[in-house]
Symmetry: C3
Subunit: 273 residues, 3 copies
């Protein structure tokens, strides 16, 4: 079933509006093209409503937020809500600065999100007001493990229930939960944490998957998460002697570009709880 | 003859000032270095006049324009005009927002451009006030085809005549026209549309080609367009099993880096109408 | 001994706050991950103090400075000084605009830097008020050569003595000097000048090396400089037919990712004067 979600992206070529950080923005654009979507970037308040109106979905990533882009996020988010477009929040570094935490929370109050995707520390910072975000990476204490999995699945479902958004909590084990069910996903490769932007790429791609699969939102998010993790596996498996994180960054996007429904279907490793 | 245009870039190492978007800026810098130029980026109004003064040409790309960079575009453009530097406009997404269309038009009123380079939808949005820009990609209805080629050649020449700039309209078939003649270029690979920034790269490179070939401007632009398309062909031909758009992005820049006059001369596919 | 500096980075995973340009920022992030550090980027004045507080070091690069980021640089720099964090200045393009030269000088007056890293033209622009910066590349007249080496070593030491910062002057021959001794480093490859951002990458990585080796700062900087140059050698040696500057850009980061203490120890080419 997840394979069909990818096929639907390729068939519909959803145009995705990204208000995202300047660190990983090129990779977000290329992975969106690789999966079959089409990217456009704009954070200027004066034009974001125009831009979002011609798109099918909006990706808000606070990775290098600033006063102008924050205004752009609110304006674009409200317009996307009015138009019924899918909207995703990637609260990069929530918990790492007061501005990030406050902005992410205010966005959650004023904008209706279809998905909130982050690492455990970021999601905890939003859910609990605590969390121990270490910069833009999850703190070790916050990892989802086989030991705390049951509790984390409940946490993800309850976060989804309270926010009304699908929770996508990514790490060594990924969780994609709505208020009733949770995909527990075991794709990916530990080396992906040494490549900047795989999370940002996933967020952009998730919007394309959602926009192309409006009837099966939770599954569509799970498909995007599985695809990214599987691409990581394929990317690392392809490395030759001497190749490292920079080459792998390209191979991961290549793997999305070359992935078809069958590859995704066979490679996806998940269970539903 | 086109090969000499490339040689002249390598001989003179033109320094190019880029006010460009943050999505593809790194690729613009690397392709400028690959072709033999040297890039510098600055959009801060307070310094753009200083920066452009030490350069040979200015590349204005509105891909992620914002209020500050817009002011920088006007200031740098006026200074470059005073100094007689070559200036290019890449109206990314003109037609997709009122701000982009208005800014591009106002730039065309106040700055004298040597070249305007965009896809058909963007150029139509500037020429006709209509156009059906779909985000940053050309709308299918706007494609240059063998069927409408004659009419599009006339359109390109008349756009050049009315603006005083060389028109570079890129797509499956590329057109480079001044008011008298039009290069119809058939280099390139359909897969290039799945790599972000090949158009932005071409714009940066075009400024270097123009700055190094002031006596043959239309030919210099055609040489840059052929070089980019040929690099796309070489890049895609080099792909091994499993490689996709991200690896190809690198191979295209590599192909420019490794291209010499003879390769360009032999690989360029064009006719003049 | 230099190898241990790299090992210490891998052991301590220093979190580095980067206020850097949008041209090469992705490469800075990936090379920081490759060497064993962890990057975070933020230039918004309202949050830079929070962000820098959770980090071990601060990298200030003025490559695409603007009014907002300049304010961020001063705020973050002061906070990092209060907290005793290592701070580096990369005065990209100092000498190329009045704003850049003035900002770099003012930063040097108000912030205590552990290292100032630039090419000869940039450092001369800061030291002498003259210098002949050609955009973001060093002017040929400013190169460190075997002929002027003795004089340049003295210049580097005296720059270090007068600023209180370690001077890292990079080019064909690299100099890393405090007020007493100077590492003369002969790693690197001439082709690195055709890849954008190797200097910016080195600056980011240098902060990680410093943060992880507080007892041996000059040696730590020398280790970072040798590592980058050696990575350039490995990167270029790995190129296959048809591969050029874009592929090499990835291979250089790969080489840092794959480098261990022994490789660095054996490959470093330096003398101390």
């Amino acid at each position: 079933m997840l394979g069909i979600c990818l096929e639907n992206v390729r068939k519909s070529t959803p145009l995705v509006h990204n208000i995202t950080n300047y660190v990983t923005v090129n990779d977000v654009a290329n992975v969106l093209l690789a999966c079959g979507g089409s990217p456009i970037m704009s954070d200027e308040p004066e034009e974001v409503e125009d831009i979002t109106a011609i798109c099918s979905g909006l990706n808000i990533n606070i990775g290098t937020l600033h006063q102008r882009s924050i205004e752009g996020m609110f304006r674009a988010g409200r317009r996307a809500n009015e138009l019924g477009h899918v909207v995703l929040l990637d609260p990069v570094g929530a918990g790492a600065s007061a501005l990030r935490t406050r902005t992410a929370r205010k966005l959650m109050e004023e904008i209706r999100f279809d998905v909130i995707r982050g690492n455990v520390s970021e999601i905890k910072a939003l859910a609990l007001g605590s969390g121990t975000t270490r910069g833009v990476d999850a703190d070790a204490a916050d990892t989802v493990t086989e030991e705390n999995l049951e509790a984390m699945v409940e946490f993800a479902k309850s976060f989804a229930a309270s926010t009304g958004a699908i929770a996508a909590i990514t790490g060594a084990i990924d969780l994609v939960a709505d208020d009733e069910l949770c995909f527990v996903i075991r794709n990916g490769h530990p080396g992906m944490s040494r490549i900047t932007g795989t999370g940002c790429q996933l967020s952009g791609m998730t919007v394309a998957f959602l926009a192309a699969n409006p009837e099966n939102k939770t599954e569509a998010v799970a498909a995007a998460v599985c695809a990214m993790g599987l691409a990581g596996e394929i990317g690392f498996a392809s490395l030759r002697a001497g190749e490292g994180n920079a080459t792998c960054r390209n191979r991961i996007i290549d793997a999305i570009d070359q992935m078809d429904a069958e590859v995704l279907e066979k490679g996806a490793k998940y269970e539903v709880r």
